[in-house]
């Protein structure tokens, strides 16, 4: 069974390679279908993998081979309850993105073959990151994502703003690369003392053999690289532009899975490998996380563009996840991982919706979208309402549990951490949660409710007037694409145990005793 994981990683990569050799005259036409088939196979495989790995603690389906002996680097992959939900999320969102490309959801500038190949390559990198159990292998997959994402934003991004999308893509790339170079330095520092890159072995040792100062330096370096990716305030500056300028599929994958690589890295590498360093850095992480929550909420209040608003809301949500991790308790980490998945599902859905609106009205400015979406396109507005209230953390939907668990955990962090700080953080984060509710309600008011009316005076000649958009309603095909995300939002909201039951055993096994 150990061949399952390599097969899962290789599937999208093979798809990309096959597309590269597809006959040129029909490549662009066939590409979305081929992409859908490949990503559906990958999704099927990941379901098999998830079922095969079960809910037991510890790594399943492991495969280990020496890759570069002189450097002590091995090909070591494995899956556990922490990574399997993320792998499923990745392949699910990947398949949905391909499905949306198949019928008009894609950008209109052509080059579908290259776009699909890039998305498949990106999927390879993300899956690999979630499965890698060797620091260098993790790093290679972590970096593999960057170039495809750069192309997706820079080439197929906002068609009205070429310099803008290029800049957004480059800022994303440069910041992430600096971050990951620093992270690599942290990995190498760990290796210098521990003599191995193997994550499992390093986690078992729990930082033994790495002196305290080196642990703090390594924790800072590794944490910095992952915090850029997550992103943590104030390193989030690449995020709003990258999301706003990316095409719909790019935004969905960026928010849905790429950001998770940062938080996953914190749980998989940062906490277990340099635990003492992490303990010293954690209170600062908590403070930055909470600033991010409030900042994200306030920034959202000031946004007029729906895509940017959703992007800023991600900063806030990732703040909750970071706060959960920074408590170093199993409850906090459970909450963080739950919120991770919930954010992927909900924000993925929100970006699908924002993208659908932008395709119809050529803009995502809320003033230009006009009011009364409930009246004009009830189904689209209905899904938007569900996603928005889920994102603001309404109990009964998926967004609620993650935030609640992290707040609870912040009330009771592990004994070594300064509890007073965390109490303040918890209180401030609570205020942030309320602000989140305010801005999503404001969105619903502004876009969905009210009388359908021609868009405001600010409407320019370039954008089609609201009345002229004939097919404002969501098509049945779109609803089918979005349906899995809506179902998951409700399902995880009503039965969080489904997800926590998978995550919890691994978290407790890893962090329960020592924390």
């Amino acid at each position: 069974m150990s061949w399952l994981l390599p097969l899962l990683i290789a599937t999208p990569a093979a798809g990309a390679l096959i597309l590269a050799f597809w006959p040129r005259n029909r490549a662009d036409r066939d590409a979305p279908m081929a992409g859908l088939v490949v990503s559906a196979v990958a999704f099927g495989l990941s379901v098999v993998v998830a079922l095969a790995s079960g809910t037991e603690a510890g790594f399943q389906l492991e495969q280990e081979r020496v890759w570069i002996e002189p450097l002590d680097v091995s090909w070591h992959v494995g899956i556990d309850g922490i990574s399997s939900p993320l792998v499923l999320l990745t392949t699910l969102l990947g398949a949905l993105c391909m499905a949306s490309l198949l019928r008009g959801g894609g950008p209109r500038c052509g080059g579908e073959r290259a776009l699909v190949a890039m998305l498949l390559l990106l999927e390879t990198g993300v899956i690999g990151t979630f499965l890698a159990l060797d620091l260098v292998l993790f790093f290679v997959f972590f970096e593999l994502v960057l170039v495809p994402m750069w192309f997706v934003i820079a080439w197929w991004g906002d068609p009205h703003d070429e310099p803008g999308r290029r800049r957004a893509a480059s800022v994303f790339l440069l910041l992430t690369v600096i971050g990951s170079a620093v992270m690599l330095a942290g990995f190498l520092l760990v290796y210098g003392y521990a003599g191995t890159f193997d994550v499992v072995e390093l986690a078992e040792r729990g930082g033994e053999g790495i002196p305290a100062t080196a642990q703090v330096v390594a924790a800072l370096a590794i944490g910095l690289g992952l915090a850029v990716k997550t992103p943590m305030w104030p390193l989030h500056i690449w995020l709003p532009d990258a999301h706003a300028k990316a095409p719909t599929v790019g935004s969905v994958l960026l928010a849905g899975v790429l950001l998770k690589m940062g938080t996953y890295g914190l749980v998989r590498v940062w906490l277990p490998v340099v635990p003492d360093g992490a303990r010293d850095v954690a209170p600062y992480l908590a403070v930055f996380a909470v600033i991010g929550i409030v900042y994200g909420a306030l920034a959202c209040l000031a946004q007029t563009d729906l895509k940017r608003l959703v992007a800023y809301s991600s900063v806030g949500h990732m703040g909750f996840i970071l706060l959960g991790i920074s408590t170093l308790t199993p409850a906090g980490i459970n909450g963080a991982l739950f919120a991770n998945i919930a954010h992927g599902v909900i924000t993925g859905l929100l970006f699908f919706l924002a993208g659908a609106l932008k395709d119809r009205y050529e803009t995502a400015e809320m003033a230009m979208l006009g009011r009364g979406l409930y009246g004009r396109s009830p189904r689209l507005a209905g899904v938007l309402a569900v996603a928005a209230v889920a994102s603001l953390g309404l109990p009964g939907l998926a967004g609620f549990w993650g935030e609640m668990l992290t707040l609870l955990a912040a009330f009771d962090p592990i004994a070594e951490l300064p509890r007073a700080t965390y109490l303040v953080c918890m209180a401030v984060a609570g205020v942030g949660a309320v602000l989140t509710a305010v801005y999503f309600v404001a969105v619903l008011r502004q876009v969905c409710q009210g009388e359908p009316a021609p868009s405001g005076a600010s409407s320019t000649a370039a954008a089609p007037s609201v009345a002229s958009v004939v097919s404002a309603e969501a098509t049945r095909y779109e609803l089918v694409v979005w349906a899995p995300l809506v179902v998951l939002t409700v399902l995880f909201g009503l039965a969080p145990g489904l997800l926590l039951g998978v995550i919890d055993p691994s978290v407790v096994a890893m962090f329960g005793g020592g924390a």
Binding site: I68, L71, V147, W150, L173, A181, L184, L188
Partner: protein, 489 residues
Amino acid sequence: MNGGVQPIDWLAITPPLALALGAIAVLMADGFLVRWRAWSPSGLSVAAILVAGVAVAVLAGDARDVFCVELSSAGAPVVCSYAVDTVSIAVWVVVLVGTLVVTLLSSSGAIDARVPLPEHHFLLLCSASGAMALAASRDLITLLISLEVVSLPAFAMAGLKRGDRRSAEAALKFFLVSVVSAAVMLLGISFVYGATGAVHLESVRAALDAGVDAEPVAVAGVMLTLVGLGFKVAAVPFHAWVPDVYVGAPVPVAAYLSVVSKAAGFVGLIIVLGLGFTPYSWAWGPAVGVLAALTMTVGNVLALRQRNAVRLLAWSSVAQSGFILAPLAVVGEVGDLAVRASLGYLLIYAVVNLGAFAVVAMMVRDRPAGQLADYAGLLRREPWAGVGLAFALLCLAGLPPGVIGLFAKLVAFQAVVEGGMGWLVAVMAANVAIGLAYYLRWTVVILSPSGEEEARPVVHPAVGAAVGGTLTLAVGLSLLPAAVFNVLG
């Protein structure tokens, strides 16, 4: 020394010797052979390189010492001038692969028609034989002479384009820099000899370890030697000659300078710092660190502004030199790890940079201006060349799918991190990001449509082989990076 005739290990000296004999054969054949065909010079060169390659393959894994002397003082150890070890084998591989690719690129019809082919190939093999000898030299005199054997033919090659004033100017500039650096280095060596009384690196190291009376002289000698080698590897601030020479010279010569001649300079540095001057690492370590930081930063920042392909590669090669230098700054602390990192980076850089130059050499036939904009649509016109160049650029940038470039960066970082030079790590991290900016910009041009549909260019078979070979090598190494590091032990 006990006079008499020294026994010579002929197999051990075959690699440089084969190239030198090949050079003479090319020259002789050109003078006396009647039925001399256009492809003959390249054919002879390739044959010589293959002979040397076979010898290297036979020697791989061996450790041999040649030209050894017993110093006069009783009980002193035997020291040798020429050694076959992992360092020499690794550099031989770089030099042979580099020379082979350059030979292919300089085939008749592939290189600028104003270059006289037999002379060009003669000079190429001469210079390469110097680089081979340099890799194995273990005393300062042999080292200096080999280095000059590398440089003298090189600037003749740079100026060999008949009737091209820019080419002649480049050659003159290169000549002056080269001579000055040789003089400075010679001065440094004489200081070191004066202070330690030895030229064999092993003895120099022993003497420095034991402590010398004239320590300031020894330190000055070490630093001056360093400056001389700094010119050869084009480290900032000794880099000013690079862009003009690269642009003025025919493209294959630029490729040669950026890979083989540069490798020679680096192996000189590695040998001198790693074997001879190690006890004084407190003096030169920080200096090399500063040089590395300056080199990568200045190279990258200037590369950002280039619109010409060869100029961009020239500055990028300056920047890459900084990364090869960086591990050498901590040779004193981490020893072999740093040598391995530097050599590994050099090997990988050589392969991918040759790949980039091969495609540039192919392009320059149809579009002599060589602007970056000329590469628009390359992927559609000539898919394999487009893929080859894009892959080489990603490797140079160090981002997957150019995995091998990532590992080059990884070993460089590893040595510097272990050496504890934190500030240099930060500079390197920032430079990885700057480098990305221009490598990616060029990659985008290659992948983007050109607008105009044009016929596929006719590709010279030798150039095609060079492009294909380097691409295969780069992709193969990306899948199995272990191959590089196994060579280095």
